[in-house]
Symmetry: C3
Subunit: 427 residues, 3 copies
């Protein structure tokens, strides 16, 4: 095995460990997932009882599964949960019967257009049972009786989610959210979990301005649960990002928040463009991942979503072909790098007020020219100071300054630091 040598490899190793687990919106697969993530990142795990009202929803019964199979007359398992967690319809009620293939067919899900792939299907809120299998497998089954068994339980229990908080200089928060409810699908969303995990580790190494809250929760019901339990807290959420489909070979896609012009939207658009990467920025739609919940009109948070190939945008989506070969260390490292760049900008994107706004202040007598005189980037640094002074009217953030001036954000932020140090501007 190749030595683990960088965040891409570390993230890939995490994806590999998580891949076999059978996750769903509740149950032990989620707990096992959070336990593994917890080895890398201290997590606060929340357990919310079945029956709890969360916004318009109710926490359902907890689902767990030990085994499931379809066996032929010879007892040979022709479909076996042990081979892949995808083989069973998520939230299947328990069943143990023998029935002819003709009757069984109503419970079998395939992808005729991709005959060797196994689809991913669930039935969370309507009691049902079923198996997912390759069309090829189905085609090879002779008529006759089959034993079907799903050794699952649906019982009062809990919905499980976790948080990791990196305290900042201010209580205002940035949330990073990723769904943890999908079983053996690598890109959707083990890659997102891995990027979130290593992003949190990287952010913790700095002394961030904002408080960063990472939410690992089941899709939809998990985000709704978090919102329900934090309704009094969400006014602290200034910005946010949903991470999903973070590891495939496609170019990065940023989907704007419902607001469309939230600061996170400006930051991601800027960072992606400035990076020179091919990428897409798309408008908000009320479909996709948990940005749907964070951006619902009652909350309307400034939360966007970063993916590589987005939701339902690749044929392997929600199939067994979204496997360990579909994601790569390099792609996850690239996603992580953009996240870090974006949060580096967001975290420094203050609005300043010019304390000497009448005419230009005399920079020379404050040593702000001298200090820079020997540097090859002196002219840019000087221009950045003039731009910051000009736009330090409480209306423009440093990213606005960077975009209007055409200067790099880092140059602008350094100029703001120098001017702040000289007492010429204040945040």
């Amino acid at each position: 095995m190749a030595p683990v040598s960088g965040p891409g490899d570390d993230m890939y190793a995490l994806v590999e460990r998580l891949y076999p687990l059978c996750r769903s919106i509740t149950g032990d697969g989620v707990r096992a997932t959070l336990e593994i993530v917890g080895e890398l990142l201290p997590l606060t795990v929340h357990e919310v009882p079945t029956g709890t009202q969360v916004l318009d929803w109710t926490i359902p019964q907890e689902w767990n599964i030990r085994d499931a199979y379809v066996a032929d007359a010879d007892g040979r398992r022709v479909v076996d949960f042990a081979a892949s967690s995808l083989h069973v319809l998520g939230y299947s009620v328990p069943v143990h019967r023998t029935m002819p293939l003709a009757e069984l067919r109503a419970h079998l899900h395939t992808l005729p257009e991709h005959p060797s792939w196994v689809p991913y299907r669930t039935s969370y809120y309507q009691p049902a049972w079923g198996f997912c299998l390759a069309q090829e497998t189905l085609d090879a089954l002779p008529d006759g009786d089959y034993e079907v068994r799903i050794d699952s339980t649906l019982a009062d229990g809990h919905l499980t989610y976790a948080e990791h908080v990196i305290p900042g200089q201010v209580a205002d928060e940035v949330i990073v959210s990723c769904h943890v409810c999908h079983p053996s699908l690598a890109n959707d969303n083990l890659a997102g979990i891995a990027v979130a995990t290593y992003l949190a580790r990287a952010l913790a190494e700095g002394n961030p301005y904002y408080t960063y809250r990472f939410v690992f929760a089941p899709g939809t019901i998990g985000a709704i649960t978090w919102l329900a339990r934090n309704a009094d807290h969400v006014d602290k959420v200034r910005h946010g990002l949903v991470l999903a489909c973070a590891g495939d070979a496609g170019q990065l896609t940023y989907k704007r928040s419902r607001r469309g012009d939230a600061e996170i939207d400006q930051v991601l658009r800027h960072v992606l463009a400035a990076s020179g990467r091919p990428h897409r920025v798309t408008e908000f739609t009320p479909y996709g991942y948990d940005e749907r919940q964070y951006c619902s009109p009652g909350f309307d948070l400034g939360v966007g979503s970063l993916s590589r190939t987005p939701y339902a945008g690749y044929p392997e989506y929600h199939t067994s072909a979204d496997d360990l070969g579909f994601v790569s260390p390099a792609a996850m490292a690239d996603t992580l790098a953009v996240c870090r760049e974006a949060f580096a900008v967001l975290d420094r994107n203050r609005r300043y007020v010019n304390l000497s706004p009448y005419g230009e202040p005399q920079l020379g007598r404050r040593g702000l020219y001298d200090a820079l005189g020997g540097r090859s980037d002196a002219k840019q640094a000087q221009m950045a100071m003039l731009w910051v002074l000009s736009l330090a009217d409480g209306e423009h953030g440093l990213l606005d300054v960077a975009e209007r001036s055409g200067l790099a954000f880092d140059t602008v932020a350094a100029a703001a630091d120098a001017l702040c140090g000289a007492g010429l501007i204040k945040a």
Copy 2:
């Protein structure tokens, strides 16, 4: 004669009946026109006495005409009002004289660039008399004396206009206005009258949300009279459309209201674009038809104007070539169809408020997925519900939802109905 088989043919038959009448801004030609329209649509006819102050204007004397001609030395009528109402200068004072051609020329109007066409000319507010004729006719007249006679009257009387109101669920009104003052010109504006008439008949068959008021009035002074007499009422006018030049072969042209972004502007732009028809949308200008009055800055109503080839945009405009051959049943039917589509959208374009705005409401337990499960358009219907919920913030109308989502307005409106029925949104 071909059987009358559809609205196009019905409208064309109406144009044919109205064509010979000599209309002006007052007089019996207007009354006769309204009487014929009244056979198809119950009209409330208003008579406003000469001398009445209407905004900045005064109702002029009423003009009527029995006969008019230019006769040569042999008594032969070389120009004859009986052949076409266009031959006499509108509002000509009475005259009966014999004069040499050289003196008569000052009273003769031709179109040298179209030598076989008769122009349409008027002199409403400056006493004058005159004849309009083909340049060819004039060129053929030998020198010599001619008898000129205009058997007209200018006397205290009334200005006549009519209304037809279709009561709606609310008192807020949509007005549809067309000018009825032009003599034998088919496109300008008999086609507009015909489309308005059959539009009113079609709207009456539904149970419209808005109250629809159709105004058949002489151009300029008629619209001014309506506004003067309804000054206390215009705050009820939420939207409006002026119909003119509605029957020629050109593509449809929508001219925006003065506001430029009134709801009627959005609706017409959307419906024309969604229809796939070639069309034009033009900016407001303070010239054209009675949108000038409705959009004058004191009223500034959300009133646009729908034409095919617009005001003064075709050589036949205001000439005898704007005849029965210049308009067609198909063109009028097309204009009518767009009007109906537009008012169908306008009439349903409510703004809703999401009553469950925190997170997505659980549509499944309300049967909003089930109800749609068997339909082939289920996915679009589901997306439409999510879009309506997302934008039901009291700020966005259903048309905004359609435009942002790219979904058909009807799909969006059906989703709103379903959500309304489930108590999830309210208007």
Copy 3:
């Protein structure tokens, strides 16, 4: 010598007279410059003592210079201030020493990329001395000792600037500002001074609406001084223009105010576009000339900047190649013409209120059609009246009317005058 035959020649003659003088941010060169301008335009000259606090700055000591040279062992002046004021570093402290070339080199400034040109360099706020010379000259100097002498004085004195005010019908002001601190550089800014001078003479011939204030002041510190001494007055400054680099062969460049949409921005954009001249309109940057001070965020005045080739945009900039051959009468006349056109528009750009806003007023009975009937531009004049009436809502200026209607500003302004005369609108 060719006869002086027009404003271009007059302006060029002024540039020729001013060229040899050694200007700086203080001193007798500025006074001599203002004295010559004063022969053409009555000036109020202000003397502000050394040590006066002006905004964030302090008026420095006054600098004057009688002579300066570098002489070789034979007493031959190899660099001589008498040949060009550029040869001495601006604000050089006095020096009289003999030193080897090796030691002298640290005080010598050249332009290696343009070996025959002499650069322009200053050191206003850090005591220093130095000479500027052609690289060719330097290359030809043999090693050995050189006598260096700068016969300058730095002593308490004054900063000098001047104003010329053309009283208008209202106290609201337009300021025109140009820097007068550069020594023998023709385009930067003797051409600007010349255009400003002849613009003032032309404006004085009218009866302008605004009060026009011309400010001839040293760059940066001069504009800061004017702002400091007029802090209570600047709320009267409605519009302004900085003139710089006004005489080179390049196309005109208008740089917007910091606001970006100030009325002066609209006017210059319109006039340049309507003129058909090739030109550029650029966004504000907090660099360049004294628009930096007028547009600093505390003042944020509606002040743009008009140049031909702008600040630092040509290789001759701040070198001896910006000489009398680099500017031309034709270019200055062109800049002047645009300034006059722009101020003609700005000065008439009122907002009107329609006093008869309900429906169109009856123009005919007020003779507003008759009066125009015989003119070939009657239709445009009539359209202009309708447009002015339509947009006379207190929100739109006449330039807005011109731009929305596509009519010439003069046509629109004439319509407004006619409507004003008829009592239909008021400013």
